[in-house]
């Protein structure tokens, strides 16, 4: 019987500073050669004494045999500690967990608020070279200093329809508008026949989903990533329950078709 609470050692091979409070760790896992994941899946990363927390994988699935990236914002005790890791250090990782995003069969709209681009970047990387679908990205952020994945964003802006909106000041390096993510939904014509992946702070969801429904996007085409407290990662401890499902094992990605059956998600 497998011990679900055991972890494996992972070596930090590179650290990229994304912004003053966010690092991307490139990790080599113990079983890296055999490691596979789907965009949207996450691992539990920890440091004994500080516990562990779920972090979405932000690298491309194609690179899974070589390394994975975890983009970590230092907001709590553990995540702040994780920001101090340097190349050569060891972290404790187990996973991957969760369902991941469904395969993309239509055009793709990615809507990201704040840190929300972290799991979406893996979806983007996985689909960016496809000729059979169009990709549109709507991204909202507080200010330019908090942007993540600048290089990837610059590339994406050249290749795809990337729209950035900032709440505070405008950006020097990116074409951006000022306002909220919902303003982008009002101003831009959305791709038709598309699946929409939304990821951001929970407070953003009601407004975004309402707008999408108004624009006649079907609930089954809208996917939200949920963040909940998590302990066991295997659907027992109950912290991450959503209705009759669990963020750790049935999520973190849920179709709005399912969520709208629950009283807390009826927007």
């Amino acid at each position: 019987m497998k011990n679900n609470y055991a972890y494996e050692l992972a070596r930090v091979i590179k650290v990229v500073r994304e912004n003053p409070i966010t690092n991307t760790l490139h990790l080599k896992l113990a079983n890296q050669k055999r490691f596979q994941f789907l965009p949207g899946q996450f691992v539990q990363i920890g440091i004994p004494g500080f516990g562990e927390c779920p972090i979405a994988i932000s690298s491309a699935p194609q690179d899974a045999g070589k390394f994975i990236c975890l983009t970590i914002r230092g907001v709590g005790e553990l995540t702040k500690k994780l920001l101090t890791l340097k190349a050569g250090d060891i972290a404790f990782v187990h996973g991957p967990y969760g369902n991941g995003y469904p395969a993309v069969e239509k055009n793709l709209i990615l809507i990201a608020g704040g840190c929300g681009f972290i799991p979406l970047v893996s979806v983007y990387e996985n689909n960016k070279n496809r000729k059979d679908i169009k990709i549109q990205i709507l991204m909202g952020c507080r200010n330019e200093n908090l942007l993540l994945f600048r290089k990837k964003m610059q590339q994406a802006q050249m290749k795809h329809d990337l729209n950035l909106i900032l709440e505070e000041t405008l950006s020097k390096s990116f074409a951006a508008q000022k306002g909220l993510i919902t303003d982008l939904l009002k101003k831009n014509k959305l791709l038709a026949n598309a699946t929409v992946f939304v990821c951001g702070p929970p407070a953003m969801y009601p407004a975004v989903v309402k707008k999408l429904l108004e624009l006649k996007v079907a609930p089954a085409d809208i996917y939200l990533t949920l963040e909940k407290r998590m302990h066991c990662g295997v659907g027992i401890c109950q912290h991450c329950a959503v209705g009759t499902k669990y963020v750790c094992k049935d999520g973190p990605i849920f179709s709005y078709e399912y969520l709208r059956t629950l009283s807390e998600y009826q927007y």
């Binding site: 497998k2 963040e227 066991c232 027992i236 329950a241 009283s263």
Partner: protein
């Protein structure tokens, strides 16, 4: 088997196991470790606490870590849960499924014998005022146990085995006269118990029912109800730094505790008491039935008995069911 023979059987078990059994203390019955046969209460009165901590200790060490070294901690002693009433057996049957793939639970279970007891099943159903299920003839077929003892009206005891392990223990103790009952799964052949379905319907879409606001007014969110509840198993994993490394511990928690749903940035999904209460009932009457087609509440009323403000789960269910029909 008569009382004297039962005594001999139990005394054999006592000689090399830790035995937990119902025991009368003052006016109440409690599940406690016992040392001799005379301490055991055979009335099948429901103990104030349950057998939960025998199978899921309030705190256990999962592993120890020092530097890169990782050591799994499996600690368990030969244990017997003796004279478990049918409601606690149902809660245990639930645990057997919830923790089916949990290596710590399973290792402990290997070292534990479960011995059920009744002084008459239909009577128990009446006496316990069971609201989660209707009485069905073949109750025992849908319970997990190693041995089951039934006290008959004439004062004699009959034995059943529910597992190979149970059979072996009986044989070793020279109990030859017993019937074997094969576990027939959680769901009876006739389908899910109608009460299970009705209770689920009453709770599932009830979030806007006024009842929750009323309960939230009085509930202290103390969590006593979930601690005492035999089917509550929510837990935390916590790190405990020691001089020579770190211990990861699994500890009971409660959805009523403030930290339960806390995420980064101090945000809490279950900030309001109303949401906590609804989450609690939802787990028992909707989520568990959906996952396992089984009961998440076994009608023991321990939550009501410990609640400082008298929140009564049976009455609340009735009210939800009534409001839902409106």
């Amino acid at each position: 088997m008569d009382l004297g023979e039962l005594q001999k059987f139990v005394e054999n078990l006592l000689s090399d196991n830790i035995v937990y059994a119902p025991m009368k203390k003052e006016a109440k019955v409690f599940v406690s470790p016992i040392n001799n046969f005379a301490e055991i209460d055979w009335t099948s009165e429901l103990p104030a606490n349950s057998f939960k901590s025998v199978f899921l200790p309030p705190e256990e060490i999962l592993w120890k870590n020092a530097g890169k070294k990782f050591k799994t901690a499996f600690a368990s002693k030969k244990t017997i849960a003796l004279a478990m009433n049918v409601l606690d057996l149902q809660a245990f049957t639930l645990f057997e499924h919830v923790f089916e793939k949990d290596i710590y639970y399973q290792r402990r279970r290997q070292n534990t014998f479960v011995v059920g007891f009744t002084a008459g099943l239909p009577d128990d159903f009446r006496k316990y005022k069971i609201f989660h299920a209707d009485y069905e003839e073949n109750v025992l077929e849908h319970l997990i146990f190693d041995i089951f003892i039934e006290k008959q009206k004439n004062g004699n005891f009959i034995f059943f085995s529910g597992s190979e392990k149970g059979q072996k223990l009986l044989e070793e103790n020279n109990v030859k006269d017993y019937e074997h009952i094969e576990f027939a799964g959680l769901v009876p052949e006739s389908g899910m118990n109608p009460r299970l379905i009705a209770n689920r319907k009453a709770v599932e879409l009830s979030f806007n029912d006024k009842l929750w606001d009323e309960l939230a007014e009085i509930c202290l969110a103390c969590g006593k109800c979930s601690v005492v509840c035999p089917t509550c198993f929510c837990f935390n994993l916590e790190d405990d730094p020691q001089l020579n490394g770190v211990e990861r511990k699994r500890q009971w928690t409660s959805c009523f505790y403030p930290e339960f749903s806390k995420i980064c940035g101090n945000k809490k999904e279950l900030a309001e008491v109303k949401k906590k209460l609804y989450f609690w009932y939802y787990h028992k009457f909707v989520r568990i039935p959906e996952e396992l087609s089984y009961y998440g509440c076994v009608s023991c009323m321990r939550c009501f008995n410990v609640c400082p403000v008298g929140i009564n789960i049976a009455a609340n269910l009735q009210r939800l069911a009534k409001n839902q029909q409106k």
